[in-house]
């Protein structure tokens, strides 16, 4: 039962005054203890974090990567956070497809940790899942990862121990794997990295996380401060006509972004593990936690333009959608015109010739019946009664996506002790960790996942498979017309998607929702791919 007054280290979460607190919840705090890192440590003794540096990976290199406490100043508040090699985000690892690099990780924080190389089809023992592929790296200990990168794409690395805490505190970085083909992408004047994130803060700094279990278990921990590359005031300069290639990664715990680039046209080029079948224009980039997208944008008019998260948020109190814009970055476009005119190549929508034979080889599997069927559900128990009453009464409509935390107090009070998120195998009836699928290397497996609206509080889920790649074949019986290899895909409420998974990489792997709080509230299971 929650305490009546903020205590045990909890501070009241920031509320949106348009959405008053439910009567009966005054003074309530989560049923778990509060956690903030580095309690008792003199902040001044902690080194100031540095911006991310680029590390060019050469075949056979060894990289030392420390996991340590850093001092950050965000919105004028100094606080203790975590960093890889003291940087925010962690170093940008820039590698060539096919290379292998040794990464020697040293844990200098006061929690166990690991590193998961998200999307990389690497050797299983280096996948970074505690209790499955390795023991957690305890404080003061080292672990050596051999990271082989067989695919071109934008990947990222993060802990797989209490991601809701460690990743939120700054443990994330990109791994950009380049194709040796110089014409892999069309021409662009330059490249920019956009790592989008959000933090939940008040005037004193970061709001505590749950100690024994995650808070915000219903909807995930949405932040109220937007970050791009760890900065709240990200900005760029460019010339008129310049084509910039953006590599976008969403490292937020729960927030899906709808990223717009002012009135500038956006050409979608690639996603998690490589290029789309065909480049295409898009009005915005919808990116869920864990996903990556590569887009080319031409800034064709001088002046200031804004890269923004542009959404229709929900106000449950008034039962309304309302437009909401978060500025992510300001782009100053000078009137100086770039000497190299890339307008013609920017207009061109290229086809990915590499993908054609890959798709042809797989097409015979497209129409087969699903090999497995999953359903997503949630169960809750012992939530405070006002939450149950209000949520029960608000179940006539569940939005496909939760773009904002429309019920901050109720969400905060729900922890992993009260909320269980479930992946249910519809054929066996097994749920969560009781599911265990076995495959042989080379199997092509069709998995149908249905995000049931028929539960207490359904929500969108970014579904992530470790160690393999997949195609999203269909959504709600509508065939996907432009395929791309993925490792994470968003599943809106009420939707069904069919994944065609290429079980190419032997080992013990994880299948889970990439909303950190859903993962820690049970939404995962493991599967085996036996070596052929």
């Amino acid at each position: 039962m929650p305490a009546m007054t903020p205590s045990n280290g909890w501070r009241m979460i920031p509320m949106d005054m348009n959405m008053p607190m439910l009567p009966g919840l005054e003074g309530a705090v989560p049923s778990v203890g509060a956690f903030l890192p580095g309690v008792g440590i003199d902040l001044a003794s902690i080194p100031l974090a540095r911006p991310s540096a680029i590390v060019k990976w050469q075949r056979g290199d060894t990289l030392d990567l420390s996991v340590s406490m850093v001092r950050r100043s965000i919105d004028g508040t100094e606080m203790l956070m975590f960093g890889y090699n003291g940087q925010y985000p962690g170093p940008l690892l820039d590698a060539i497809e096919g290379s292998t690099v040794v990464v020697r990780v040293r844990n200098e924080i006061q929690m166990p940790t690991t590193i998961h190389w998200h999307g990389v089809r690497l050797e299983n023992q280096f996948d970074g899942v505690p209790g499955l592929t390795q023991a957690p790296i305890e404080p003061g200990e080292d672990f050596i990862y051999e990271v082989k990168v067989p695919d071109a794409g934008m990947f990222w690395y993060h802990p797989h121990v209490r991601e809701d805490v460690q990743q939120d505190l700054g443990l994330y970085g990109n791994l950009l794997v380049r194709s040796p083909d110089p014409e892999y992408f069309g021409p662009a004047h330059r490249e920019e990295i956009l790592v989008v994130d959000d933090l939940l803060m008040d005037g004193e700094g970061l709001l505590p996380w749950g100690k024994e279990s995650s808070t915000h278990a219903l909807m995930g921990r949405f932040g109220n401060v937007m970050l791009v590359n760890g900065q709240t005031d990200h900005q760029m300069e460019t010339k008129t006509g310049e084509v910039i290639r953006f590599y976008i990664t969403n490292v937020a715990n729960s927030r899906t972004f709808n990223i717009t680039f002012g009135n500038n046209r956006i050409k979608l080029v690639a996603s998690d593990i490589g290029r789309y079948e065909r480049e295409q224009w898009t009005p915005s980039v919808v990116i869920a936690p864990g996903e990556r997208y590569v887009v080319d944008v031409q800034f064709d008019k001088p002046g200031e333009t804004v890269i923004a998260n542009t959404i229709q948020a929900i106000n449950h109190f008034r039962g309304e959608f309302y437009p909401h814009v978060d500025t992510l970055s300001r782009v100053m476009v000078s009137s100086q015109i770039n000497e190299e005119d890339l307008s013609d190549s920017f207009e061109l929508l290229r086809e990915n010739q590499e993908m054609i034979p890959e798709i042809e080889n797989l097409e015979r599997h497209f129409t087969k019946a699903p090999d497995y069927e999953l359903e997503t559900l949630v169960r809750v128990e012992n939530l405070p009664t006002p939450i149950v009453i209000s949520m029960e009464s608000d179940t006539l409509y569940v939005p496909p996506m939760e773009w904002n935390d429309a019920m901050p107090m109720m969400n905060w009070l729900s922890t992993g002790k009260e909320v269980t998120w479930i992946l249910k195998d519809k054929i066996s009836g097994l749920e969560k960790g009781d599911i265990h699928w076995e495959f042989e290397q080379g199997d092509i497996v069709k998995i149908r996942i249905f995000n049931s609206p028929d539960s207490f509080h359904p929500m969108n889920h970014p579904i992530h498979l470790h160690g393999q790649r997949f195609l999203v074949l269909n959504r709600d019986d509508i065939q996907n017309q432009n395929l791309v290899w993925k490792d994470t895909a968003i599943l809106p409420v009420g939707s069904t998607m069919d994944l065609l998974v290429e079980m190419s990489n032997p080992g013990e792997w994880m299948f889970h929702c990439h909303i950190a709080e859903h993962l820690h509230a049970g939404m995962s299971f493991n599967f085996t791919v036996r070596e052929y």
Binding site: L377, P384, V388, S393
Partner: protein, 187 residues
């Protein structure tokens, strides 16, 4: 399973309500939950006005799916609104007399109206909408709806997107059990 000591809960006042409820809420098995499963979840019914002879016993539905040209898992516009494809169909119609049935989509305050188009001989038509809350209206027009800025004939069927049922917490329903379709629907 869906075990709720509903009477006890509903009898409580909020001021006394900071207790954990003896509730285990499961998904999927309770018929009383006001939801449907699968694609139909966002689909909705069209209700006859009974104003036009031959349509009084008619039934209609609008199937709502995300636009199929989105490369993402969901289709939204640049202002964040959902971008839906609509498949409208009517049945049990025996339309007598002159005129054509034409489908429209409009905002709830009728401030914006877009013409979907005339229904085909099977009383079906496809369209799209990029508003989060909307009404679909079928009218009887003397022609095919003209340029489509506004209907002129009588309304024959109408229905509201499921999002229109999003509750206000200051309005109806917070402490009541209500039929999901008690808002002009045929439940």
């Amino acid at each position: 399973m869906y075990t709720v000591y509903r009477v006890a809960i509903l009898g409580m006042s909020f001021s006394l309500a900071l207790t954990t409820s003896p509730v285990t809420l499961y998904g999927g098995e309770d018929e009383g939950m006001c939801v449907e499963a699968g694609v139909p979840y966002y689909s909705f019914q069209l209700i006859t006005t009974k104003n036009i002879p031959g349509t009084g016993r008619g039934r209609g539905s609008v199937e709502v799916t995300f636009s199929d040209n989105s490369p993402f898992g969901i289709s939204v516009t640049s202002d964040g609104s959902y971008d839906y494809d609509l498949k409208l169909s009517l049945n049990r119609i025996k339309l007598r007399g002159e005129g054509r049935l034409v489908a429209w989509v409009t905002t709830r305050d009728l401030s914006k109206i877009r013409r979907i188009g005339p229904l085909d001989p099977y009383y079906q038509v496809n369209g799209s909408v990029d508003w989060n809350k909307f009404l679909v209206v079928v009218t009887l027009e003397s022609n095919d709806g003209g340029n489509g800025d506004k209907w002129e004939g009588p309304v024959v069927f109408r229905g509201m997107s499921r999002s229109g049922m999003m509750h206000t917490m200051v309005g109806h329903g917070l402490l009541q059990e209500e039929n999901c379709f008690a808002y002009g629907y045929d439940g």
